[in-house]
């Protein structure tokens, strides 16, 4: 999902940079002072999540957690992921810096979409509704990111259908696991710190 250096064509990189920058600017504008610790926390969570590999059958799955980030931050997911992805690129060499805009857009836009789709359910629902909505956000965010990744590769020359199937198939177990983890996190937060899930102005 982190697209490496030298894979995407220059027009795709340029458009990604523009879209990523636009999202970043909008997200920065939307952050309120009280929300800042939350944004930093989610950036840290996203940054660390990619280090965690969970064994799944013969291989294993790495976490992305953009669904959880989106649920809690809304548009502020853009700044959080810009920082998280830039640090991952610089320190761990996950993805590259020229593709930062594209990678940010591919992971942050699904986060924002899941914010709009699932947060109302998480806020107002009971335990089961929140858990299901959390699962939906975790699963959906990775699914949409996989589709956008395939689209980025297709626009750079790969055949869309085969690229799409490849990316989706590789990430399917990951989507399910992310759904479960996001659901668990949502339940945990609702119980322990419901203020994080109260209405905010990031939407």
């Amino acid at each position: 999902m982190h697209i490496s250096e030298g894979v995407l064509s220059p027009p795709v990189l340029a458009s990604g940079a523009v879209l990523g920058a636009a999202g970043l600017a909008w997200g920065l504008k939307k952050i309120e002072m009280e929300q800042l610790p939350q944004v930093a926390l989610m950036a840290a969570v996203f940054f660390l999540a990619s280090l965690i590999h969970l064994p799944v059958g013969p291989s294993s799955v790495h976490l992305v957690l953009n669904g959880l980030v989106g649920l809690l931050l809304g548009w502020a997911a853009f700044p959080a992921l810009v920082v998280g992805l830039a640090l991952q690129a610089l320190l761990f060499q996950y993805g590259g810096l020229t593709g930062l805009g594209v990678n940010v857009f591919n992971m942050a836009l699904p986060a924002v979409i899941c914010y709009y789709l699932f947060r109302p359910w998480v806020m107002r629902g009971g335990r089961w509704t929140s858990a299901t909505a959390g699962f939906g956000a975790g699963f959906g965010a990775v699914l949409l990111s996989a589709v956008l990744t395939a689209l980025s590769l297709a626009l750079s020359g790969e055949v869309f259908i085969s690229a799409a199937w490849g990316v989706l198939a590789a990430n399917l177990p990951g989507m399910a696991i992310e759904g479960v983890i996001t659901a668990a996190a949502v339940l945990f937060l609702k119980q322990v710190k419901p203020a994080l899930l109260m209405p905010n102005r990031a939407g």
């Binding site: 697209i3 990619s50 291989s59 294993s60």
Partner: protein, 201 residues
């Protein structure tokens, strides 16, 4: 927010402990070394899995394609380089694509290829055979044959060592230092942003 801090610390610990596990990591890597005129190497995901059936290309210093192939079911590849290499070809680039937008690159320097580092040098060649001392002549061996046999035995012994060294040179493990550094940056940037926002209001 003690709960939240606890969560982040738990994640950091989990990442540091679970990190090096067999995995399809967020990046793919490749390394290569020379053995017997062939460029051999392996594509892999740091932390475990091999890169199976991935296309591999070898480019010269000017970007021209010299030879291409693919990794096998064990992630390894072996490509025959054109011999002799055109002058100025080194350093070579080995590029491997692993699908899903993953791409890895490894540079094979002139020294790795046994070439003189100056751009127009020719590959090192074995010294022409000189007549051996009388004893070896009696055994029917001459210096050149002994040299060849030794070179071949050495190459076989050195190949796995070269592979290990090439692999070690690529730093694969995520260190605690990197994690701490990253978290520090996040805190710092958040602080800067808070300062900006406070000034604004």
């Amino acid at each position: 927010m003690p709960v939240a801090l606890g969560l982040v610390l738990a994640l950091a610990l989990a990442g540091a402990l679970l990190g090096p596990a067999p995995a399809q990591a967020h990046k793919v890597k490749v390394f290569a070394y020379l053995e017997d005129g062939a460029l051999k190497g392996e594509g892999y995901f740091p932390g475990g899995g091999k890169a199976l059936a991935c296309p591999v290309k070898v480019l010269d210093a000017r970007g021209k394609l010299l030879v291409e192939g693919a990794t096998g079911q064990d992630g390894a590849f072996s490509l025959t380089l054109p011999s002799p290499l055109p002058p100025g070809a080194a350093p070579l680039s080995v590029v491997m694509e692993a699908g899903e937008g993953h791409r890895a690159q490894y540079q094979v320097t002139a020294r790795d290829l046994g070439l003189d580092p100056s751009p127009d040098a020719q590959p090192a060649r074995a010294a022409p055979a000189a007549p051996g001392p009388p004893d070896s002549a009696r055994l029917g061996l001459d210096a050149a044959q002994i040299e060849q046999a030794v070179a071949k035995a050495l190459a076989a012994q050195l190949a796995p060592i070269k592979a290990q060294m090439a692999r070690l040179a690529e730093k694969d493990q995520v260190s605690v230092r990197d994690v701490v550094g990253g978290l520090g940056w996040i805190l710092g940037l958040a602080g800067l942003l808070a300062w900006f926002k406070a000034r604004r209001s």
